[in-house]
Structure formats: C-alpha cells, structure tokens
Assembly symmetry: C2
Homo-oligomer: 467 residues x 2
C-alpha cells in the first residue's frame, strides 16, 4: 500500500503500524478503544478505522491536560501529535509518544460500546455505533474492498458497468413480491370507475422496486457485448430468516455471444478473483474473522482460491442424491427444486469443493432461460459452495423469439409490456448468458458471518427500517 | 490497455484497432453499423461496443454465404473469423479479411436505428436500442469509466465505501419530496381509528426512498474516518426539466476531522481526478462528444484539469453580483439563494473558472450545517463551474449537540426519530464535513449532453418508468 495523504492533517494508523523506521512528528486522530492509567504513565489504544489494530498512545504526566486525557472513557475522540518510536511492549512494534493531545469528543457511562464483547443481536440495536466494534469494522472494510474488487475484475476483463433502474414498471421474475413505489395520497387515492387511477401516480402507471437488473442488462449486452450491473435490489418477502433481507446488492454480468459453458467460466474466474483479492488485500481483517467469527475461514477461502470447479447436470445430481446413504428431510424427485440440504450434501460431501449444477427442469426455472434440445431442461446453472450452498445462479437466455413467446404464454406472462425485451430478439439478436451473485451472500461466505443483517450497514428486514 | 481475454472466443475491436502488427486468425463478434455491397466485394462496418469506431470487414464473393451476408441490414449481428491486415482505405489502419461469417441475428425494415442521424428525443423513445448508437455508446462508456474512477480515487485516498440504505424511514433534508414505499393493499389499506395503520406495513412504519445517504455516511465517518457513498437517490418532484430526474446516482464523501477548507480541498482534488481520468481513458469517446455534442468540450475539460479553484464567501459573491454591469432576472439580495444566472455569471464572467462559494446564510441551508461564529452564516460550500453552475454542494456538519438541537427546533424537525444521528455528537463526536456530487450532473458536464435523460441508461421522470 502506498502512503495515503489525507485531507485532514492526520496519518492513518494502518500506515504507522507498517512503518519501517521511527518518525519524529506526526498526528493521528481517532477513537479510544481503551484508556489505561498507571502510576506514572497512561495509555490510549487508538483506532481510526483504517485497520483493525490500535496504535498505543503513551501519555506522559507532564502533558498539560494529562489529568483530563488519562481519564477519558472508551469511545472518546482525540487528535494526538507525537513521535512514533519502537515499543518496549510485547506484541506491537510501534507506539506513539504523545506531545500534544486535543480532546475532540468525550463519552459518558451511557455509551453502549464498552470494552466487553457484545452479542451480534445487541449490536444490531445500535447499528449506528457498531462500525466502531472490531468485528463490524472488519466486515465493513471487507465489504468496501470487495466492492472495489468487483469493479476492478470487470474493468480488467473489458466489461462495461451499467446502472440499471431501481424504480420499474416490470417484474423480471414474473412472480417476485415487489415493493410498491407511489406518490398517490394513500388516504384518498384518485379513483376512476371505483379503481385507483394509477395514471395519476408519479409515473402514470403502477411501479415498484426492482428485483433484478438482468432484463435491462441484456439490452446493454446487445450493444456493448460484455456488461455488468452492481446495484440494490429488493424483495418484499415477509420472511425473517438469517439469509434474507428486503434490500440487498446484486452483481449481474451479462455476455453477448456466451453459452452456458462460458457463463460458468466467467463465474469461476470471478469468484476466484474476489476470494484471492480478499486474501491479499484484507489479510488482517480476515485473520480477525478467522479467529472470532468462523474457525477455519482462512483455510476455506484458500481452498476455494485453488479449487477445481466441478460441473454436473441436474439429472446427474438427482441420481447422486438418490444414491446417498443418508436420509433427507425433503424427498429427491426429478422435476423439483434442490433444497439447501441437497445442495450442501453435493458440494460438501460428494465433491468437497465448488460445484456447478446445470440444465435444470424447465418448469422450475424462469421464462427467460434457454430451452435445451431435450425440450425438458433449460441451460441454467447454480454454483454451489461448501457451507453456503447456492452462491451464484445464472443461465443462457432464450434468444429465439418464437421459443421465448411460447414460454411466456405457458408462464402466463403478458408479452406486450415486455416488447422492448422481445425487440432485442427481433433485431440483431444473439446467444447470450449471465448470472447473479448476491453481494451479501458473498460477504457472508468471505467473512463467516451467519446472519445477513451483520454484513449490511443498515439492514432492512420485516418490521425494521431503522437508521 | 493490456489485452483482454474474453470468455466468448472473440477479440474486442478496440484491441484490434490498436494492433501493432497483422494477425493471422482471430474472431470478432458484433453488430453491423453499415453493410455496403460492391461489384466484387462487400464491406461490413462492425461495432462491438468496446469502442466508438468500427472495424471494416472485407467480404470476398467466394465466401459460401456471401449472398446472404452481403445483403444483411444495419444492426445485424455476426461472428467473423479472418485475418487482420493493413487496410488500403484512407482513415483506417486495419481491416479484417473474412474467411468465415456466421449470421447470429438479422434485422428488417422495421429496425428503428437506420444509418441516418436521429434526434435525441426520438432516441429516448427507443432507450432499449439507443446504446447501439454512437453518441449513447460514447456516453455510457464514459459513464462506466467515471464510475470506476470514483471508486479508484477514494480507494487511493484511503476512503471506505459504504452502501447506505435505499429504503428509509427518515428524510435527510427534512423537506424533500419522497416516494413512498409500501406493501399495503392500496385499495383496502388496514386502518386504525380511521387512519391508515402503517404499523401493519412491511417495515411497521411509513417508509420512502432515500434522498441522500449523508446522515448514515456521517455515522460511518465516526468509525472509519474517511468514507464515501455512491448509490441511487430519489426525488419525487414533479418537475419536467432537462436537469432533474426522479432517480439518479449520488456520490457523498464524508471526512471525520475535516473543516470546510479540507472539504473544498477534497472536492477540488476529486473533480480534477475525474476529469483527468476521462481525458486519459476516454479520449476517443470524448473526441466524439467534442465533435458531435458540445463544441469546445475538450478545451473546457483540459482547462478544468489545470485550473486554479478560487474561493469567495457568499457575502462577497453578493457584493460582486450587486456590482455587475448587467441585469438579472432574479434580484440579488443577501439572504436569498443564488440563482443559476447568478452562479453562471460568477463562474463564467467574473472568475472564468471553477469557484467555491462558501458561508451561506443559515436560513437558506439545511439544519445539519455547522453554524459560523457570526451566528448568521453556516460553513457550507457550493462548487460552481462554467456552463453548468453548481456541480458540488457540501458543508461542515454541526458537531455541537446543543447547537444542532436548537437548529432542529427552529427548523421544526422532531429530534426523537433522529436520536441515532444525535448520538454520534454525544459519544466521541468530532468536527466533520462532506459533500454531494450528482453523478449525472458530472456526466452532463463531461460529455456535454444537455438533458439528464441522455446520460442515464433508462431515465425515470414524471410519467415515465419505461423499460
């Protein structure tokens, strides 16, 4: 990491901890994790969010405001000027001998983040303060780094970023539960013939929050060849699980000229890149997660970065599950969706590594997936990984207009509102494929966090839109 | 640019046009911009979206499907294998001698994008196809590049990216018109005591779409020091202007320990970085915009990249405007907001360059801006640039809880729902500052596009949520 020049006259603690030689005069600013007062000296463990670790500040009683500073509480905010010197203490290379301490903000006994460890449940109640805790500091730094890695991977591979709309009048899956977006007066909506008159709503029709940018992404792929989206998506499902949030970020690449095999190659390269990026760029935070959140996390990630990605068809998967020498809660029947227990058995016990399952029965997949020559299955894929199950889902898209139209009819989807989607099959159409990766699911996998609420800055779930 | 390896067996045309030597066998895939048939030869001008320019494909009548290929229409999609050879034609270095052409998708006479130039208004009606047109290809490639530049700038400067919530129960400005987000049955909402019972809505309270991520960004800044957001924001304003959209993307950095001067320094460094990035990385597309969209665009951007950013106070600005030797439509009065005509006079005629105007009257600014010692003005800044006016707006935030509370009372804002915002002033508070840059306004400035609808893939405006 090259040195960062801040705009606020401070040196990031991360840089100081990586110093190769003492430094005479510099300023750090941050928040006290602990303040310890000895007989002839006091110490502040200072964190500024640039890394997980703290810098030890040594306070000499000769400091003019020593009394005040040495009695500060956890969470207090200070600016400290001094010299970086070798630390005699074990476990740390450097410490800062303070010559000047400015108190910027104090705390009191009501401050909820005391030194002891708090449960993740408690921390959700104080989501505005939890970024100051080690675990959430680590998770949100990893989130930031991986968001950058997403953009960097695609830029290096020539993909164009497209920001697809959030407010939409269409529903990609044809079935997802959507949030409605409106400016109509809820108490007295305008009516015509007894019905609410959506022509008088802001967009002159019923609109909701997008569940996917894929359909718009396909439009851009037929102009720029390789594109991706990365933006918020929404599900109004009233399910309070540890894996579902009402608002989450999704990454959806789409490649013109791609078949399902190319789609799998992209997914493999992408996931390997992200995990390798995290291992290289977030090593301190991942070490923390490995110690405090998921034992074996680093070994799991290192294994994935090196792993061979296997591929089997859904039909083969069903055969393997039927032969399994263990019972499942849900029966295994060709034509039904695989359950999480099935997916985890395949990826954890049979293959012990990442696994693509491809070519699912048409009936359990979305209308836009390309029908295979067997007329029973579609060119879909799910990427399963140990401990999580499905991480990525994608497909080749149906580019044949007659087949697409027939499929829309069967699924009861009105083609008229999707004429724009049909148009790219009429004019200059081509085979194309893509997938979706839920960013939060990736973060749960990479950090070891088991609840999606703990990898989102301010999670939105049924009954909760706080902060 | 290093060579890109695609997942679809094709070489991007951008790379071929930059080739340093002939190549024997390679494959390109893309869309015909034109097909010209001569007596003994035919040509396709092929575009794949990797750049603005087309690659000339030379078709020999000996090709088995020559008859069919040479009669393709504009917009048809083909995969071509052949050899890259020096072109005898003027204005292009390379052409591709085709040995194999696969037709992937044809077009017909109904295809709306014929060779002639279409108006931007017409193109908005076919927003699903307009990325295939040169101007929109250029604009959306610049959009993608600048989105990457935003992330790269902040990563290089040690800022953490935070994805703030889209659905929110609070309203940052206290006044902005918000879209409502709901899952209640619009026809028969549940009621209690005659009123709609929002406790039974999805989030158990009234929620809307965010107008800014700033307040949540401030929370993260008091843990990570330097942070930024980059995400969609919304305004339910029923104004059909060329500069307003209902949905747009905003970039909002926030720095702990920053005063207004540091905030201005960040804004200057950021804007200079983005413009320089565009000049370096998007030179072909900017040359197109310079020729077809805004005459003098390149000179304008080059001037900005080198410019001195001046700073004057609002009070000084008012004096300059009062002395102006020209009339204004809106009167200049201390205490009123500057109008666009005033801003453009200052930045274009007085300073002829980028200009920060700082320290606005408290009454015309938001409650969270830090009050100056004069008790009349707040530590706010607007960055004005020639041809656009306001591009960036920011402020130092009020970190003193008593002053903030007093200001909220004056503005009629109930403090209780914002206790989380108040908390970071109670515990470990510090001076901090930030700003907002509307991404689309930046893109209008950089591309020369005059209507915000033409820099957004699928714009949302009153009466329009198509695609």
């Amino acid at each position: 990491m090259t040195d960062v020049i801040t705009f606020t006259g401070r040196t990031p603690i991360k840089q100081l901890l990586a110093a190769v030689a003492p430094l005479t005069e510099l300023t750090v600013k941050g928040w006290a994790r602990t303040v310890r007062r000895g007989k002839d000296v006091a110490f502040i463990a200072l964190n500024d969010g640039s890394c997980c670790a703290t810098l030890q500040i040594v306070l000499d009683p000769k400091l003019p405001n020593y009394e005040e500073v040495s009695r500060l509480g956890t969470g207090a905010c200070v600016a400290v000027t001094g010299a970086l010197v070798a630390s005699p203490a074990a476990g740390q290379q450097w410490e800062l001998q303070a010559t000047l301490v400015a108190i910027l903000g104090t705390t009191d006994e009501d401050y909820p983040l005391q030194k002891k460890r708090h449960s993740f449940e408690f921390m959700r109640e104080i989501a505005h303060l939890r970024p100051r805790a080690n675990a959430f500091g680590a998770v949100f730094r990893i989130r930031s780094a991986l968001a950058f890695a997403v953009h960097q991977f695609f830029r290096e591979h020539g993909f164009m970023y497209v920001q697809t709309p959030i407010i939409t009048a269409s529903d990609c899956e044809g079935a997802g539960e959507m949030f409605r977006v409106t400016t109509l007066d809820a108490e007295q909506p305008p009516r015509v013939a007894g019905q609410i008159d959506y022509r008088r709503d802001f967009f002159a029709e019923r609109t909701g929050l997008t569940v996917s940018g894929q359909l718009e992404g396909e439009l851009f792929a037929t102009a720029f060849s390789d594109i991706y989206t990365f933006g918020p998506t929404f599900r109004a499902e009233n399910s309070n699980t540890s894996r579902h949030a009402a608002e989450f970020w999704m990454i959806e690449p789409e490649m013109a000229f791609a078949d399902l095999a190319a789609d799998c190659q992209l997914a493999e390269a992408f996931l390997r890149y992200l995990v390798t990026f995290a291992l290289n760029e977030c090593s301190e935070d991942l070490a923390f997660c490995n110690e405090r959140i998921e034992t074996g996390l680093l070994a799991k990630l290192e294994a994935l970065a090196q792993a061979t990605f296997e591929t089997i068809s859904y039909t083969e998967a069903v055969k393997l599950l039927e032969k399994a020498d263990r019972p499942f809660e849900f029966p295994v029947v060709w034509g039904r969706d695989l359950q999480s227990e099935h997916e985890r058995y395949l990826t954890e016990e049979v293959f012990n590594g990442p696994l693509f399952v491809t070519d699912y029965p048409q009936e359990i997949k979305a209308f836009y997936m390309r029908r295979n020559d067997d007329d029973r299955t579609v060119a879909a894929m799910d990427l399963l990984v140990p401990r999580v199950g499905e991480l990525i889902g994608g497909s080749q898209r149906e580019e044949r207009l007659d087949v697409l139209d027939e499929r829309m009819r069967t699924c009861g989807i009105d083609p008229a509102p999707l004429n724009w989607y049909r148009d790219i099959r009429r004019w200059g159409g081509c085979p194309h494929a893509g997938f979706g990766l839920g960013f939060e699911r990736l973060l749960m996998y990479v950090t070891g966090m088991e609840n999606i609420r703990d990898v989102i800055p301010f999670p939105r779930t049924p009954g909760n839109a706080r902060f």
